[in-house]
């Protein structure tokens, strides 16, 4: 089956992970397909960083044009579909689509196998049980038998065509994801 890649340029209000997934899932209700992989990437070509979202669908929606317009509505921005664009497609959405499809960039908020892994597990199990291709250590070598504490939050990124999870050394001899769900907020997040 040919991958069905769609992408959009969401408005700022839906950029948070949970909002983004909710917007995508809502638009796909009744379409007969779901988004098995959802990843964001930042387009800096215009100076102002703009975040786009790319989706890999499980198949062709029953009514593609209706689904597309529903997605555009929930994301609050234009949607592009791989290999279907004529004229001048949205820059941010197109960049997100190409980055994800080619695996050059993109931070995966959802990916196949995500729900199946939790708690602590060996690196090999994480790679075999999910779409993650590889774990890359920051400041640490990743041994194949090393154990990763997922902390219930994984955001692998596309890099060189591979879905890569950055990890670092945590306490107690286990690895931990480099990106965590709730980093420390300065000023209660209100300072800036």
């Amino acid at each position: 089956m040919v991958d069905r890649w769609w992408a959009g340029a969401p408005r700022d209000e839906v950029l948070a992970d949970a909002h983004l997934l909710a917007a995508v899932d809502e638009a796909l209700i009744g379409s007969g397909v779901s988004a098995e992989l959802v990843c964001t990437s930042v387009d800096r070509s215009a100076g102002v960083p703009r975040t786009g979202v790319a989706l890999r669908l499980t198949g062709e929606p029953a009514d593609p044009s209706a689904t597309r317009s529903a997605l555009s509505q929930t994301l609050g921005g234009p949607v592009v579909v791989l290999d279907e664009e004529a004229g001048q497609p949205d820059v941010v959405a197109s960049a997100a689509l190409q980055a994800a499809r080619q695996g050059t960039a993109g931070r995966c908020v959802r990916f196949p196998g995500q729900q199946a892994v939790r708690g602590r597990l060996p690196v090999a199990d994480l790679v075999s049980g999910t779409a993650i291709d590889e774990l890359v250590g920051v400041g640490v070598e990743v041994a194949p038998d090393a154990v990763v504490d997922t902390l219930g939050f994984l955001r692998p990124q596309w890099s060189g065509g591979r879905l890569t999870l950055l990890v670092e050394q945590g306490a107690g001899g286990v690895l931990r994801p480099f990106e965590i769900e709730s980093p420390h907020e300065c000023c209660g997040g209100a300072g800036h």
Binding site: V42, V48, F178, H192
Partner: protein, 565 residues
């Protein structure tokens, strides 16, 4: 400093010195080669320095001496002349109080604690915001005045933690003066990133669009110095690598815009208790450095830049990293260490219940009676110190020494002080210079570095007497201005010698000679307790949730530049 022009005969075409570009034309006069005209030239050169301080040439502050040196040839300029064993004043330029929405202590508490932990100077830096500008400043001012009376030995500065438009936070402060509070208010009202966003003049998702406001703010501060509304104003970039949003070009632009104001950055951020393992401690990232790249981050920063190394910021801790890339340009830029004290590890207090947004204060903190182990900060001076070699225990003198880079950043009382002397006894500046200074040598000459470290004379706040294990002498060529302002590497900078410290002494003395020097260079020092080193002797990346700060102590000394003439 002597200026023996007569002893150095050289051609009569030597007046065009880059340092004097501002008044170059005025020097082209027929009397220029007459020895009697030297005094006039000295006068002009001095005027250049004074004007230069306002016009953007005042990065090195050496007054008359520097001006005269600039008017000579085959003799370099010097600044921060060595003058014997320095006397250091310990301090902290980053402290929060109940006048920040995320902090809690009375100003008096922070100043008392700072004094208890051996500090001589502090800067109160609550977060800039609409409420702070409107309601907090007028409450802070009288309290600071009261603490000055209650602690006559302490220098207590009123400052601000500025939300740099488009970037991170920064300390901004001035000495006490008639206009200090007015300037702080106007500056915050006009140029604080949070205020600008509230006014709709900048937006959070367009950091590049906000950058010009930062430049304008720094120009404003420099203008206040030029207009003599304040004798001096300083800015230090705080926790520069925490979110990757202080891009290299922004740092360079701040420095270039206001070289007398934007003089440095936190070499080590505060929140040093945040990495103490749970359940005894917060179990977070040391320095609260636990983030990764976001949409507004400078994309080329590598993942490890979001962590500390031996408690120090990646920009400072990386040999040949961003800090070195500035020094390799010949840019004076200094590093410090602060507490960023908001809520202190194992303290029993929680914030007051007052509504910050409408009153500018959290109110009186509340004692819960039980130590709170999720807090990640230390009291001012409890762990982090910025040691400044000041000529006097006076507000302006101390700031001038900070501006001149006579500064060492120290953790956990690893050292008490440092006497650094860099000179060329036979082929250049025989007297030599110290921390933050610039000296010179004739091409092909030798440069002697003598280092005397004053080792810890007693226990630190953890009850340990720290043992300095090694001192690294780090050096790199000064290769001139970079074409790409986003450069953050200095590939030729390296550790040139590592000195091991023998045990059981009060001081440790080391020497190194750079022989047959052909090109201008800089050097700097760092030292470690040796407990956490990678195979190359560098600080490893701190582990999130597993970084006991007391078992990993470092100091970083600010550089000396050596010009080849």
């Amino acid at each position: 400093m002597s200026h023996d022009h007569e002893h150095h005969h050289h051609g009569g075409h030597d007046h065009h010195h880059a340092d004097a570009a501002g008044v170059e034309g005025t020097w082209v006069d027929p009397e220029a080669d007459d020895p009697l005209s030297v005094s006039r030239r000295a006068f002009l050169a001095t005027a250049t320095v004074v004007a230069g301080a306002a016009a953007g040439l005042g990065g090195t502050v050496a007054g008359v001496g520097q001006g005269v040196a600039a008017a000579t040839d085959r003799k370099g300029r010097t600044s921060n002349a060595w003058s014997g064993r320095p006397y250091f004043l310990a301090g902290d330029h980053h402290i929060h109080t109940q006048f920040s929405p995320d902090a809690q202590y009375e100003i008096e508490t922070q100043v008392s604690k700072a004094q208890e932990y051996g500090l001589d100077w502090v800067v109160i830096t609550d977060h800039g915001s609409v409420a702070h500008q409107k309601f907090s400043i007028d409450q802070v001012t009288p309290r600071i005045e009261a603490t000055r009376k209650a602690h006559p030995d302490m220098l207590v500065y009123q400052g601000l933690e500025w939300n740099i438009p488009g970037a991170e936070h920064a300390t901004v402060f001035m000495p006490p003066g008639r206009s200090t509070v007015d300037i702080l208010k106007a500056f915050e009202g006009g140029y604080d990133g949070s205020v600008l966003t509230a006014q709709g003049r900048t937006t959070a998702n367009n950091p590049a669009g906000a950058e010009p406001f930062a430049i304008d703010g720094l120009r404003y501060l420099e203008q206040q110095v030029r207009n003599r509304r304040t004798e001096i104003a300083l800015m230090f970039a705080n926790h520069p690598s925490r979110q990757g949003i202080d891009s290299p070009h922004e740092i360079r632009n701040w420095r270039e815009t206001a070289p007398g104001v934007a003089v440095g950055m936190e070499g080590a951020p505060g929140h040093q208790a945040a990495g103490i393992p749970a359940p005894a401690g917060p179990g977070g990232g040391r320095g609260y450095y636990d983030r990764s790249a976001g949409a507004n981050s400078f994309a080329a920063y590598p993942p490890e830049s979001y962590r500390t190394f031996g408690g120090f910021d990646w920009m400072t801790a990386t040999v040949g990293g961003l800090w070195d890339s500035l020094l390799a340009e010949g840019l004076p830029f200094w590093v410090t260490a602060t507490s960023d004290s908001h809520q202190v590890y194992r303290d029993t207090f929680t914030p007051g219940t007052q509504d910050y947004a409408t009153t500018g204060s959290r109110g009186a903190p509340i004692d819960t009676g039980a130590p709170i182990t999720s807090y990640g900060d230390f009291w001012p001076g409890q762990y982090s110190s910025t040691l400044v070699a000041s000529n006097a225990r006076k507000y302006v003198d101390l700031m001038k020494s900070l501006q001149a880079g006579k500064v060492i950043a120290v953790h956990g009382r690893l050292i008490e002080g440092l006497d650094l002397r860099v000179r060329s006894p036979r082929q250049g500046d025989a007297r030599g210079v110290t921390l933050g200074g610039t000296t010179w040598v004739r091409r092909g000459g030798d440069v002697d570095v003598s280092i005397t470290v004053e080792l810890a004379a007693g226990p630190n706040a953890n009850g340990d007497v720290p043992k300095l294990a090694k001192v690294d002498l780090i050096s790199g060529p000064v290769t001139g201005r970079v074409k790409d302002k986003d450069t953050f590497r200095a590939p030729e900078t390296r550790v040139v010698e590592t000195f091991e410290v023998r045990k059981g002494r009060k001081t440790a003395t080391f020497n190194h000679t750079f022989r047959n020097v052909q090109d201008s260079f800089y050097l700097r020092l760092r030292g470690s307790d040796g407990k956490q080193l990678d195979s190359a002797g560098n600080p490893p990346m701190d582990k999130v949730g597993d970084a006991n700060p007391w078992d990993d102590l470092w100091f970083y000394a600010n550089p000396v530049f050596v010009d080849v003439v």
